[in-house]
């Protein structure tokens, strides 16, 4: 095999929102990479810029947002690509699943018609009949029983988990290479979450999908991701293989996130949480953006932006990554 470009490569992606000529950055130089058959988890708090960044990578940024940097899909630059060409990629080669399956389906179209539409958008020559047949197969693929009957039904006749399965079916309708799942299980019951993750993981393995799993739940990633990028205040603060990350977290924020996962085996009165809230857009603290909430912050953290420190296949943006002082946390 010759060297080929990675499936999806983001370099120094920046997304800024302007108001009165003054821009504030929500995504501040994110670099990521996903290959065929690989699962990348992106984890971060609400408002850390993880969704906005991925949407912007596909040209789905809100109106008035400024996107710079480079996003390459199979070596092809997506930033600045004409709308028509982006549209041909979206839903065909790159598919998305959204957070809330309750509102992500059109309430006045039958499920069958919606899946068939997703198929026909990128295969205009396919007949309606053939598209519906494909829709039926897709419903079976995501383990929805009685696909024939389900095709005729409207979204309100489906449960939350079933709707998310439909969303997944629509997403893989055109055999995409890359699937971006934006908090696919957040709106669902815990028991249903596990089922949906199973369906996703199964499809990912079978179709050799590159999968980007955006979540705020590190626990979800533990079982399903190959690599994890931790995002804070619009930047990737740590990136590593999933086992490495849990074993040797280099950034105090990551350590905080890991400590926040409830441990069922230990009796505790209080659950751990990271104090404070993420900084507001355009009001970042001096130095390291995490310093006001950091339990190991020193003077240097309030003065200087930390460099990215590297281990093999592991990087963290902290002055003290992979060294001392690991006193608290």
């Amino acid at each position: 095999m010759s060297a080929h470009p990675p499936l999806f490569e983001v370099r120094d992606l920046r997304v800024a929102f302007g108001r009165n000529g003054f821009y504030s950055e929500a995504v501040r130089g994110v670099s990521l990479q996903v290959d065929h058959g690989e699962v990348l988890g992106i984890v971060g708090e609400s408002g850390s810029g993880k969704s906005v960044g991925m949407l912007a990578a596909l040209g789905l940024q809100p109106e008035g947002a400024r996107v710079t940097g480079s996003v390459k899909f199979k070596g092809r630059e997506l930033v600045g690509l004409p709308r028509r060409e982006l549209r041909a990629l979206r839903g065909a080669r790159i598919a998305m699943i959204f957070q809330d399956p309750l509102s992500s389906l059109n309430p006045v179209m039958t499920v069958g018609a919606q899946i068939a539409e997703a198929v026909r958008l990128h295969n205009p020559d396919l007949s309606k009949r053939a598209a519906l047949d494909r829709a039926k197969d897709l419903l079976a693929l995501v383990t929805i029983p009685q696909p024939d009957r389900r095709l005729q039904q409207y979204p309100h006749e489906f449960s939350g988990g079933m709707r998310q399965r439909v969303m997944i079916a629509m997403a893989v309708a055109n055999d995409p290479d890359l699937l971006i799942a934006d908090e696919p299980t957040t709106a669902l019951d815990v028991t249903v979450q596990a089922q949906i993750m199973e369906v996703l993981a199964d499809l990912q393995a079978r179709l050799k999908l590159g999968l980007i799993l955006i979540t705020h739940d590190l626990g979800v990633l533990a079982g399903h991701a190959d690599r994890v990028a931790v995002v804070y205040a619009g930047q990737v603060v740590e990136q590593a293989g999933v086992d490495d990350l849990f074993a040797r977290p280099g950034h105090p924020y990551t350590r905080g996130l890991i400590a926040s996962i409830p441990d069922m085996t230990v009796e505790k009165d209080r659950l751990f949480s990271i104090d404070g809230t993420p900084p507001a857009l355009g009001r970042l603290p001096e130095g390291c953006p995490f310093n006001p909430r950091c339990v190991v912050a020193q003077d240097i953290c309030r003065r200087e932006t930390p460099p990215v420190r590297h281990l093999p296949d592991h990087s963290a943006a902290c002055h003290f990554a992979f060294s001392a002082p690991e006193s608290a946390a």
Binding site: R90, G91, S103, L105, N106, L121
Partner: protein, 279 residues
């Protein structure tokens, strides 16, 4: 067995309220009159069938007017003018307003500004005054009154449609459709517009009554129907000069009252049906 809840007879669905039933009955009556006026009334609307200004009697249930025409027959025939005009005005106004409003809401920017300023300008005139001005400049006649009323009415729907499109386009299924590669026109026609019609439908139903009222007003001041057309507004105008023969104006007045009431009741009923939260 423990206490069984006291039996409550459920004879009709909750949304089928008494006013809605009355409204449907009233409108059905006038729809029948529109089609079957010649067979329902005992006399031709333009014939002078009796002595002038007779009070109501068994022969002329609503009396006769200044020219000895049967008021009841004329009222029934009036429906044949009022209802088709109202339907035409509302249909054309909805068509124009919905298209322009949807484009304004969906495209935004310059298109939105142009369309909405046009709407603002039109709505800044009192509707009656604008209708009078347009009708007067076009000349009397029911056709010109129809055109005038469309000009007065389309901005209402444009504004309604724009607000609705602005609301629906932010919903997540629209973003999902865009993310799956749908074209802009497809997003608008398949994923936005089908969710926008409810308030337009409710408003259109109520406006049918308002348009009938406006049409009658235009005819009343001589800018709509011309004599001897049996139109309710001009009949009331006739009655206004026969003050002591109250029955001349009573017939067409009752007609307008019942039809406007009927449409309003149905509009309210639709509102409750589609939006059960508003009680």
């Amino acid at each position: 067995m423990t206490a069984i809840p006291s039996p409550r007879r459920i004879s009709r669905p909750r949304w089928l309220t008494a006013p809605l039933i009355v409204g449907i009955a009233l409108i059905l009556f006038w729809l029948v009159a529109t089609v079957a006026a010649p067979w329902m009334s005992g006399f031709a609307p333009l014939d002078m069938v009796g002595r002038r200004l007779q009070p109501p009697s068994w022969e002329h249930l609503l009396g006769t007017d200044a020219l000895g025409r049967d008021v009841l027959s004329r009222v029934l025939h009036g429906a044949r003018h009022s209802i088709p005009i109202a339907v035409t005005v509302v249909a054309v106004a909805v068509a124009i307003g919905a298209v322009l409003g949807a484009l304004a809401g969906f495209i935004g920017g310059f298109v939105d500004t142009v369309i909405m300023r046009l709407v603002d300008i039109t709505l800044s005139f009192p509707p009656m005054l604008l209708a009078m001005a347009v009708a007067a400049s076009l000349g009397p006649g029911l056709e010109n009154a129809t055109v005038a009323m469309v000009i007065v009415w389309w901005p209402v729907y444009a504004r309604l449609m724009r607000a609705q499109v602005l609301e629906v386009r932010e919903r997540e299924h629209v973003e999902a459709a865009i993310a799956s590669g749908a074209t802009r026109s497809r997003v608008l026609t398949k994923h936005i517009l089908p969710l926008c019609w409810t308030p337009v439908l409710i408003s259109a139903t109520m406006d049918l009554g308002q348009v009938i009222l406006l049409a009658a007003s235009l005819s009343f001041i001589g800018l709509g129907a011309t004599p001897p057309t049996p139109e309710w507004g001009s009949m009331i105008s006739d009655g206004a000069s026969q003050f002591y023969s109250w029955w001349v104006a009573l017939g067409p007045g009752l007609a307008i009252l019942t039809i406007v009431l009927g449409f309003n009741f149905i509009g309210d009923g639709l509102h409750d049906y589609f939006d059960p939260r508003s009680k």
